[in-house]
Subunit: 117 residues, 2 copies
DNA sequence: TTGATATATTCCCGTATGGGAATACAATAC
DNA sequence: GTATTGTATTCCCATACGGGAATATATCAA
């Protein structure tokens, strides 16, 4: 079996540095493909391909506007990574123990919030 | 240029599900290669190879004990992922805005702590 | 319609992968 | 010494990658 496809999950999609750059760019707002290509100094087909991967794993959303395709960030799709990495927060030193508590508190708040809906 | 090597950085090393499983296992304590292989139901050479990748990116430490090699987690090496993913925490909802503030506070504390050394 | 602009797709290639199988190396036990 | 256990390495393979280049598709403009 070869390496997992880049579109297999968010972890694989985000392993590529350029795709992380794209997400960082989109964090500052919706961009067209050419905007992305220009900002990252990559040619248009590469940008298009990277965006396709990001879209397949749900990290970006696309909407058409005339002949442009505007891509925007869907940061919620990063939560699996966040949740996973936070599993190890307790090993990062004393400060982070408190962070861990804080996160648990947050999760409880979220649950209460969700139940109220 | 092909895909980045799995040993290129922590993001690539962690993109492989089995390697994340290994880290999760090592989070509960030091293990020998055969322990890892047994817990993950993978044969020994694969376990050895995955551990090699994890060691190359600094995610695990190794020490010899007799004829065994005991591997342990070095969770600090996950910080690049943590820091990166936290860049997007502000997009995850209201609760996480406060988390972001808290993290900035933590970073300042770390700086002061480092300067005191 | 023709032309121009924006985006997506296809083909090629060198490279790296993860798993299987076999083997090599290392350290202990006898 | 030999045997045994624990670990690492090597070779093979099917698969997928990311970049380049060229081309196809889509949308607007005149």
């Amino acid at each position: 079996m070869p390496r997992s496809a880049t579109t297999a999950d968010v972890f694989n999609a985000v392993a590529e540095p350029r795709r992380r750059e794209i997400l960082g760019l989109l964090a500052r707002g919706e961009r067209s493909v050419n905007d992305v290509a220009g900002s990252l100094r990559v040619n248009q087909p590469q940008a298009s391909k990277h965006l396709k991967v990001l879209k397949e794993v749900g990290l970006v959303r696309m909407r058409g506007s005339g002949q442009q395709r505007l891509y925007s960030l869907n940061a919620a799709a990063l939560k699996p990574i966040h949740d996973w990495v936070m599993t190890f927060a307790q090993f990062w030193g004393e400060c982070y123990d408190r962070l861990d508590e804080y996160l648990q508190e947050l999760q409880e708040q979220e649950k209460r919030h969700a139940q109220q809906k």
